[in-house]
C-alpha cells in the first residue's frame, strides 16, 4: 500500500516535471550533452591556458558555449518580454546591434578609423550606445503601442534601414579599436580566467531577476499580453507597458552590441549579428513561451538560447559539411519545437502515466 502511494507520487512528480515549461530546454541540454559524451568524451575537457597577453584563460567547448551564448541569452531576455506584452516579435534586433556597435566605434574612435588611443572613455561610449539603442527601441515601441502596428511590420522598417544607418554612422568605414582595456571586455580581464561576456550576461540576469522580483512588471506584462482590454479596465496602461518592453529590448541590444564590438575590436555592419533575431525568437520558442504573448518564463528562454549555442558548437565540433549545416540545424530545431508544443507534452505526460499504471498493477498483486 505504501509503495503504491510512492509510485503514484513519483508519477505525478514526473508528469509535473514534464509539464513544467523549463523542462524542454533542460532536456534538450541534457540530450545534447549525452550525445556529445557518447561521440567524444573529450568534448567536456576544460583547460587553463594563457592568451597572447599572458593572462590566464579557460578554454574548452563548454566554456565556448557559455561564452559565445552570452549575446543570444541577453537578447532572449528582451525578446521574451516583447513577445509576452505585444504578442509579436521584434525582427530588427540584428540591425539594431549593428547600429549600437557602430555608435560605440564612432564614440571610441572619433573620426580616425584606427586611433592609437581611445577618444572617449569606454563607459561614455557604452552609455551613448545605450541611449541610441533605447531610442530605436522606443521608435519600435511607439509604432507598436501607440499606432498599433503589428510588431513584425513595425520592426520591419528598422530591419530594412538599420544596417544602412549603421554604415552611415561611420561613413562606411570600419574603425578598429586596439585598446587593451576595451578588448578585455570581449576576452578576459587580467587574473580572471573566465571570459568577460559571461559576467556581463550573468549581471543582466541578476538585474532582470531583481526587476521581476521587486516590481510588478511581470504581472503587468502578462496581463497586457493575455488580454489588453481587461488590463485597461483594471487600471493598467497597455500602451505604456508595451512601450517599456521595447525600450528594455533596446537596452539588451546595446549590451549585445558592446560585447560584439569588444570581441574583436570592430564590427562589419553588413554581416554583424546576421539572422540573430531569428535565433532570439527561436530561443523564446524553445523556452516553451507562447509566441502569441501572455505568460512567459525568462529563465526558460535564456536556457533556450544556450541550447542553440550548444547545438552550433556541437555542429562545428562534428565538422558537418558547410552546405549541410543549416539542414542539420533545422532538423534539430524542428524536433525541439515539436517537443515543446503543449499538445505533445501532454501526450508524453499521459504516456508516462500509462507506463506507470501497469507497473503499479503488477506490484499490488
Amino acid at each position: 500500500m505504501a509503495s503504491d502511494v510512492k509510485t503514484a507520487q513519483k508519477t505525478s512528480i514526473l508528469t509535473a516535471i514534464i509539464r513544467k515549461q523549463i523542462f524542454i530546454p533542460i532536456a534538450a541540454l541534457i540530450i545534447l550533452a549525452i550525445f556529445n559524451f557518447i561521440v567524444d568524451p573529450s568534448f567536456f575537457k576544460i583547460t587553463l591556458g594563457h592568451n597572447n597577453d599572458g593572462n590566464p584563460i579557460l578554454s574548452g567547448n563548454l566554456i565556448s558555449i557559455i561564452d559565445y551564448g552570452s549575446e543570444l541569452a541577453i537578447l532572449a531576455i528582451g525578446m521574451t518580454l516583447v513577445t509576452a506584452s505585444s504578442r509579436g516579435q521584434d525582427i530588427s534586433v540584428g540591425a539594431a546591434i549593428a547600429i549600437s556597435g557602430s555608435v560605440i566605434l564612432r564614440v571610441l574612435c572619433g573620426t580616425n578609423s584606427r586611433p592609437e588611443s581611445l577618444q572617449a572613455p569606454i563607459i561614455v561610449a557604452f552609455l551613448v550606445s545605450c541611449l541610441v539603442a533605447m531610442a530605436f527601441g522606443a521608435f519600435n515601441g511607439a509604432l507598436v503601442s501607440i499606432f498599433k502596428i503589428q510588431p513584425m511590420v513595425a520592426t520591419l522598417i528598422l530591419f530594412t534601414a538599420g544596417r544602412s544607418i549603421a554604415a552611415w554612422i561611420n561613413n562606411n568605414e570600419l574603425p578598429v579599436v586596439s585598446d587593451k582595456t576595451f578588448l578585455n571586455f570581449g576576452t578576459v580581464f587580467p587574473g580572471i580566467p573566465v571570459q568577460t561576456p559571461v559576467f556581463i550576461a550573468v549581471l543582466c540576469f541578476i538585474v532582470i531577476w531583481l526587476v521581476m522580483k521587486f516590481t510588478n512588471l511581470r504581472l503587468y506584462v502578462q496581463s497586457v499580453g493575455i488580454n489588453e482590454k481587461t488590463s485597461r479596465l483594471n487600471g493598467l496602461n497597455p500602451a505604456l507597458i508595451k512601450f517599456v518592453t521595447y525600450v528594455i529590448l533596446g537596452l539588451c541590444v546595446a549590451v549585445v552590441g558592446f560585447i560584439k564590438v569588444a570581441r574583436i575590436g570592430t564590427i562589419n555592419y553588413s554581416v554583424i549579428a546576421k539572422d540573430i533575431e531569428m535565433d532570439a525568437i527561436l530561443a523564446v520558442a524553445l523556452g516553451g513561451n507562447s509566441l502569441g504573448g501572455g505568460k512567459f518564463n525568462i529563465s526558460a528562454s535564456v536556457l533556450g538560447a544556450y541550447v542553440i549555442q550548444f547545438l552550433t558548437t556541437t555542429l562545428y565540433k562534428l565538422q558537418v559539411q558547410s552546405d549541410a549545416l543549416p539542414a542539420y540545424k533545422a532538423v534539430v530545431v524542428i524536433v525541439l519545437v515539436i517537443l515543446s508544443a503543449p499538445i505533445v507534452r501532454e501526450k508524453i505526460a499521459a504516456f508516462f502515466k500509462k507506463l506507470r499504471a501497469p507497473a503499479k498493477a503488477g506490484s499490488s498483486t
Binding site: I57, R263, S322
Partner: protein, 357 residues
Amino acid sequence: MKMKKILAMAASMILCGTMFAGCGSTSSSTDKTDTTQAPKTTSADTANDDDNKADDNSADDNKSDGLIKVGIINNDPNESGYRTANVNDLKATFTKENGFDASFTYSLKNEEQINAAQKFIQDEVDYLLLSAADTAGWDSVLKDAQAAGVRVILFDRTIDADESLYEASIVSDMAKEGEQAVDWLKSQDLKAYDIIHLQGVMGSAAQKGRSGALDDTAKELGWNIVAQQTAEWNAEKAQQIVQSVIDAGKSFNVIYAENDDMAMGAVAALDKANISHGVDKDVVVIGFDCNKWALKELKDGNWNYDGQCNPFQASYIKDIIDKLENGETLSQKTIIMDEKGFDAKTITDADVEQYGI
C-alpha cells in the same frame, strides 16, 4: 475607430519620413516619398552624399555640351567596403572634367535596377554601365537598349544574356584569385600543411572560386584540411569555428580565410589561445579583399598574405569607352582584371595606400 486607424497610419508615415530625413539627406520633402520606393539616383555633381537625391532632369539640362552621357547602375554602396571603393572609383573617374555626364543609381534589387535602366534608356544616355544585382531578367531591357542605340558595358558582375547584347564585360576571376593565393602558399614550402579553411556564403562566386582552388591543390598535394566550414563572411562565426578546432585539440598551421573579416575573427581566436601567427610564426594567415586595415596587419607582420579582389574597374571602363568613341573594335568581350596578391614580407606603405579599400 476608422478615423483613428487613418490617423495612426498618417502619423507613422510621418515618423518614417523623419527617420529617413535623419540620414543626412538634404533633399526636398517632395521626393521623400520615393525614397523608400524608387532606387537611389544621384547625378555626378551632387554625388558626394550617398543619400542625396537629385532628379534625373538635371542631367537633361546639360545635355548638349559635348559630354558623353553615362548611366551607371550599381549595387548599394553600403553593401560592403568593396562596393564603397567601387562606387568612389566610378565617381572619381566619370566626372565633368573627364568629359562625362554621369548619373548614378544604386539598388540591391534587380527589378529596381531594371526600372532604372529603362529610365536611362528613355533619357537617351550614350552608355549604360551595369553591375547587376541578379543574373537573370535582363534580356528584354538590354534589347530595348540596343534598339535605342545605347551601348551597354557590364562591370563586376556578369548576367545571363546573349553576348551580342552588350559591348564588354569587366569581371574579376575569383578562381584566379584563389589560385594565386594557393600558389603562394605552395611556394612557402611549409613542412606540413594543416589547414583551417573558412568559407564565405556557400554558392557565392567568390566562395566557389576561392574554395575551388584550395580544394584542388589540397587533393593533388595531399594537404590536410583540418576543418572546412562556412563562416558566411562573418568575423565572429570564424572566431567560433577556429575556437572549436582549438578546443578539439587539433593542430594546424595555416588559416585560409576567404575574406579579411573572417581572417580577423580567426586571428582573435588564435590570440585568445596564445597561438602565434604571422611572418615566421606558428600559423600562416591568408585573407582576401585587401581592406586597408588588413593590409596594415600584413605590414605589421601579423598576417602573411592577402589576395586582391579589384574594385577599381573605372579605368578599364573608360578605356573601353574611349576605344568605342574612336571607332575601334574591342578584341575581346570579357575582360579579366589584373589582381594582385600581397606578401607580408614584400608589401610597402605605398601598396597599403594605393590598393587598400
